[in-house]
């Protein structure tokens, strides 16, 4: 497709359409709009993974969950990637009437709009481009640089009900904008970032798209990018360490600062080097450049670098007793609690609280520690909870008041945020059952949904070392099956699981939840939807019990 011609054709149309749309922030919508939405990875700009507006799923109703549908998509996998976490928009104004649309992203530059009720494919968009991938199609580093789309798109809501714009970063580095109802590109692709990089989930705040990149894929530096939709200017900041690779992307606080952990590298802020720490970047309101506004380096950052214990987890931000707090973690398996007013204190090395190690006693760089993202929610009593998935066994010295069995392959651990005489702490509350590579959970109405991905996450073998990870075939052949779990958010007790309903494993599949449905996808190209068949009845039951 020749986009110069497309631009001429669509120019006036797109300007008119954009002028009528007001891309509100996903978080604003999640807290105000009903029925529920999931417009960005992690549910909101703060990456809480908390579906606040769920009413159908509850601790009482989830026992009735079942597989509602599964849809095989024709996306071609790349390395271990296939589908990315879905986004959900209800009441999308389509030619066939309002529909709840599930936006599925395929790594091979494909987007799909599915009907949430049936799983039927409403539309498919493959991103055409004049850019040609390198020979072999990859980015030179195998599994970690798969090529294609690696960032979960973000959906902005238009001014009128039922109108949504999908923002996506294509393999060629351009920003794509689509009408969610039709999948059609509404403006020509815009120059955004270098092609062939590895961006992570997009975020949308104040009419700007935020993203960070990692792994040096395609030979590109690891950067934060901010695309200002009004001026079409792209701000940048970086590089930082081995990249910023929190899987759910950057989390944005109430002041518009995007925070993310940084991968391996020296921590030397005096010289502008920020490896193995956490950075906060904000758009300059005038120039639109990305500006570093705060940073935190764990006191053992040198150790983290030496042992490849990246700070590679997406932060989660929340309000607590009038303060805005943030949590993050990394492979080391320690969680940090921070105040967004100053995440590392005066010396940039002192968080509000640092938990003990809760896993990764072996000090492994793969198959152990915290990966992906965190989650947080607040219960009806005002208790603030923070959740962390982790891989591998629980640390032998870590305990929680409630432990739901022996943990060997992974679990979810829950902490309560507590204010003890002005000192903020994370107090262990419960540890879930064993899950084979526990992935980031989501919360809906008092229920934690988590899953064991079943993925072989090893990156080295005793005999061939890292060569084990040179070829995805090794890991693919040793991966098993994903299992989805519903847990009581107060205790971690298992309420339901998907059994053997899921036939493959999941790498970067991620969970999304809205309106009585939980979505997960797998390497074999299937999009699964679990939920309650008679959602209305369950909703009534839930409401009767005062579930939130």
């Amino acid at each position: 497709m020749n986009y110069r011609n497309l631009g001429k054709v669509l120019g006036l149309l797109s300007l008119a359409l954009l002028a009528s749309w007001n891309p509100l922030q996903p978080a604003q919508l999640a807290q105000s709009a009903k029925p529920a939405e999931w417009l960005t990875d992690g549910g909101d700009i703060e990456r809480t993974a908390w579906q606040r507006n769920e009413t159908i799923l509850s601790t009482a109703s989830v026992k009735n969950m079942k597989l509602l549908w599964k849809t095989k998509l024709d996306n071609e996998p790349r390395q271990m990637h296939n589908l990315l976490p879905v986004l959900i928009a209800p009441n999308v104004k389509t030619a066939a009437g309002p529909k709840q649309i599930v936006l599925v992203t395929g790594v091979s530059d494909n987007l799909y709009g599915l009907d949430a009720e049936t799983g039927a494919t409403l539309w498919k968009r493959h991103f055409e481009s004049d850019w040609e991938p390198p020979v072999g199609g990859g980015r030179g580093a195998g599994i970690l640089c798969p090529g294609g789309i690696t960032a979960t798109p973000v959906i902005g809501r238009g001014k009128a009900d039922g109108e949504y714009i999908v923002y996506a970063a294509a393999w060629d580095g351009t920003l794509r904008r689509l009408d969610l109802a039709t999948g059609k590109e509404i403006v020509p692709p815009a120059k955004f970032m270098p092609p062939n990089g590895k961006p992570y989930a997009l975020n949308l705040y104040n009419n700007a798209i935020y993203v960070h990149t990692a792994q040096g894929c395609g030979g590109n530096p690891n950067m934060v990018y901010i695309y200002d939709l009004a001026t079409e200017k792209v701000g940048a900041w970086g590089p930082a360490g081995g990249g910023m690779w929190g899987r759910t992307g950057g989390a944005i606080d109430s002041k518009g600062v995007m925070y993310t952990g940084t991968g391996d590298g020296p921590w030397n802020p005096e010289n502008g080097v920020y490896g193995n720490g956490i950075i906060g970047v904000k758009q300059d309101p005038v120039t639109k450049a990305g500006k570093l506004v705060d940073y935190y380096g764990p006191s053992n950052a040198e150790w983290l670098w030496k042992r490849d214990l990246d700070m590679q987890v997406s932060c989660a931000i929340f309000k607590y007793k009038g303060k805005e707090l943030m949590v993050d973690a990394g492979k080391e398996c320690v969680m940090y609690l921070m105040d967004t007013d100053s995440i590392g204190g005066d010396d940039h090395r002192t968080p509000l609280h640092r938990t003990p190690l809760y896993c990764n006693e072996e000090v492994n760089f793969a198959s152990a520690g915290v990966w992906g993202s965190l989650a947080t929610w607040e219960d009806a009593k005002g208790t603030r909870w923070v959740l962390s998935p982790f891989w591998g066994p629980k640390h032998s010295k870590f305990t929680a008041p409630i432990q739901n069995g022996v943990v060997k392959k992974g679990a979810v651990v829950a902490f309560k945020v507590e204010d003890k005489a002005g000192k903020y702490t994370l107090t262990p509350a419960w540890i879930s059952r064993d899950m084979d590579r526990a992935e980031p959970p989501v919360i809906a109405n008092g229920v934690i949904f988590a899953y064991g991905s079943g993925e072989d996450t090893d990156q080295a073998a005793y005999d061939i070392g890292l060569a084990y990870n040179h070829d995805a075939k090794n890991r693919i052949s040793n991966s098993k099956k994903a299992v989805l779990y519903a847990l009581d958010a107060q205790t971690g007790k298992e309420l339901w699981n998907s059994g053997d309903a899921i036939a493959s494993w999941s790498h970067w599949g991620g969970l999304s939840v809205a309106n009585g449905k939980v979505y997960i996808n797998t390497f074999d190209g299937y999009q699964y939807c679990f939920g309650i068949a008679n959602g209305v009845a369950a909703q009534s039951a839930s409401n009767a019990k005062g579930g939130r």
Binding site: K191, P221, G235, Y462
Partner: protein, 544 residues
């Protein structure tokens, strides 16, 4: 994450190999040249080591091993970074005289794995000269390439400072300006083979010397008391191949070293009925070759950059009092030099002004320097004047200004020409010679007083000298027990490599004496093993 790093490293394979050579301790005296020199280090330098409270005791581990006479643990071979199935590791591989292997996570002082080699029990009595058991250390494969001497301090990677930027409207990010177009498809070569794995003439692309990148396997070697050579995966000690017959049981092996597909060792003292000399086993064919001679020194043979093998001999045997160059494949003599008296150190090889030089000591206290390409006569010899000079091994390094230094441990009062850098010397010292621009070897400095000093180790310009505390006696009737009873405690000293000035010492931390070779080190830490079966680590504390 580190996968990306690995790809980057693989692209820079030749440089990485050279660097890896200079930062790890592969075999006795560190490398194939027996230099005992770790060329660069991110933390150890004169200033940091001298700063009070900076360089310090980190950990010690008592290992379960049965001593044989005065032998217990060997200095560890090191691996600065294993990207292994259990994580990133900095490892030390220690051999115990009781046929035991210990692999230690040297960051944490934590056992990574240990293994007992099931050797057939010896039928011969253990003596001081023929102690039996494992007598030589665990080794990692090493290249004979002589890494270039550094001219600048080491700097860490990923140091590009972060910057802010903004692109012009509609032009995307500023980083787009740096994007290079893909080469035309028709002209693009197929993906390059991993340069770490393909070397001309290699029989087996596995087991690359010098590092653990590529596709592996990554091995260590150990020689058990029964003469069987064990090749094992370094990540967990699992056998790579069944043990192979290399030496006669009970041989007193020193200087075990593994090159590409060949392992060498030296045997001494006629132990176990093994002829004294140089032994070689081809790992592909399992063929064993021998060159007979009364090899001198404690570190075995040294290799030139072209893999020529150099050994020195003492009195007696087929080739007495000689420096001999051997063909590494056939062990045939290529050249030799016969001295008027016995050699008393293993040779050390180094590059100097485009030549490969070989240095060795003789009993009169002279250090002789030869052109490795021609052993017809020494290029220079230091003045002697030392009675029964027997350093066992020499050490050598080059400072940033290009000055070449040769060091040796010496027992007794200082010889003429040397001035102690710290007080009177009565028991012993480390002596340093400087190879001047005139090609002459001249005394430079002597250390403070040391008791039975071990061969020194040099790390980034800092000389680590060990006052071993061992009781030295020429009385052949003095048993190991008697010697142990009269021995003291080891103390390590860090010295300025250019002046001998004391920068640091280990004080009273070490509670036994040491008998093994040069202490090993690398990656900002040093390791000493002692008679009581303890390994000590010193370095800079790091919060874990």
């Amino acid at each position: 994450m580190k996968k990306m790093l690995t790809v980057f490293l693989v692209c820079l394979a030749p440089a990485i190999v050279a660097q890896a050579q200079s930062r790890d301790w592969y075999t006795d005296s560190a490398d194939a040249q027996r230099s005992a020199w770790i060329r660069q280090d991110g933390k150890i330098n004169k200033d940091s080591t001298a700063k009070p409270g900076n360089f310090q005791f980190l950990w010690k581990m008592k290992l379960k091993n049965q001593p044989k006479q005065l032998n217990n643990l060997t200095p560890p071979a090191t691996l600065d970074r294993l990207i292994g199935y259990r994580g990133f590791r900095m490892l030390g591989f220690v051999a115990g005289s009781g046929d035991n292997l210990f692999t230690i996570d040297t960051d944490l002082g934590r056992m990574e794995w240990e293994k007992h080699l099931n050797a057939a029990p010896s039928q011969k009595a253990s003596t001081l000269l023929c102690p039996g058991g494992m007598t030589t250390g665990v080794v990692r494969p090493v290249l004979t390439t002589i890494a270039p001497a550094p001219t600048n301090p080491l700097s860490a990677g990923r140091n590009t400072p972060a910057k802010s930027g903004v692109g012009e409207s509609g032009q995307g990010a500023v980083t787009l300006a740096n994007v290079r177009p893909n080469p035309p498809r028709a002209q693009q070569a197929p993906p390059a083979a991993n340069p770490m794995l393909v070397q001309q003439g290699r029989v087996n692309t596995a087991n690359l010397p010098g590092g653990q990148l590529g596709a592996g396997p990554f091995l260590i070697y150990a020689l058990a008391s029964d003469g069987m050579l064990h090749s094992m995966h370094l990540s967990n000690g699992a056998d790579y191949q069944p043990p192979v017959k290399f030496l006669p049981p009970g041989a007193n092996a020193v200087g075990l070293i593994a090159l590409d597909q060949v392992v060498y060792a030296v045997t001494t003292n006629g132990c176990g009925g093994a002829a004294n000399g140089v032994w070689k086993i081809d790992l592909a064919t399992k063929e064993v070759k021998t060159w007979k001679g009364n090899v001198a020194g404690s570190a075995g043979m040294a290799f030139g950059a072209d893999s020529t093998l150099y050994v020195t001999t003492g009195s007696g045997g087929d080739k007495p009092n000689s420096l001999v160059a051997l063909d590494p494949a056939t062990l045939a003599e290529k050249a030799s030099f016969s001295a008027s008296q016995e050699f008393t150190s293993s040779p050390v090889v180094f590059s100097h002004k485009s030549k490969v030089l070989v240095a060795a000591a003789t009993k009169d206290g002279s250090i002789h320097v030869f052109d490795g390409a021609s052993l017809s006569a020494p290029l220079t010899s230091s003045s002697g004047g030392i009675k029964d000079f027997a350093p066992g091994a020499l050490s050598s390094w080059q400072d940033f200004s290009g000055t070449r230094w040769i060091l040796a441990a010496h027992n007794g009062a200082l010889p003429a020409g040397f001035t102690a850098a710290g007080g009177a010397v009565t028991k012993g010292a480390v002596l340093a010679w400087r190879l001047g621009d005139d090609g002459k070897l001249a005394p430079a400095w002597a250390s403070r007083d040391l008791v039975s000093p071990l061969a020194p180790t040099i790390i980034n310009g800092v000389v680590f000298a060990t006052s071993s505390g061992a009781f030295g006696s020429a009385d052949g009737k003095a048993t190991a027990a008697m010697r142990a009873a009269r021995s003291g405690k080891a103390v390590i000293y860090a010295l300025d490599g250019t002046t001998g000035k004391e920068l640091w010492n280990s004080g009273t931390t070490i509670t036994s004496f040491a008998t093994a070779g040069a202490l090993s080190g690398g990656m900002s830490q040093i390791y000493l093993t002692t008679y009581d079966g303890t390994i000590y680590a010193f370095g800079f504390p790091m919060e874990h």
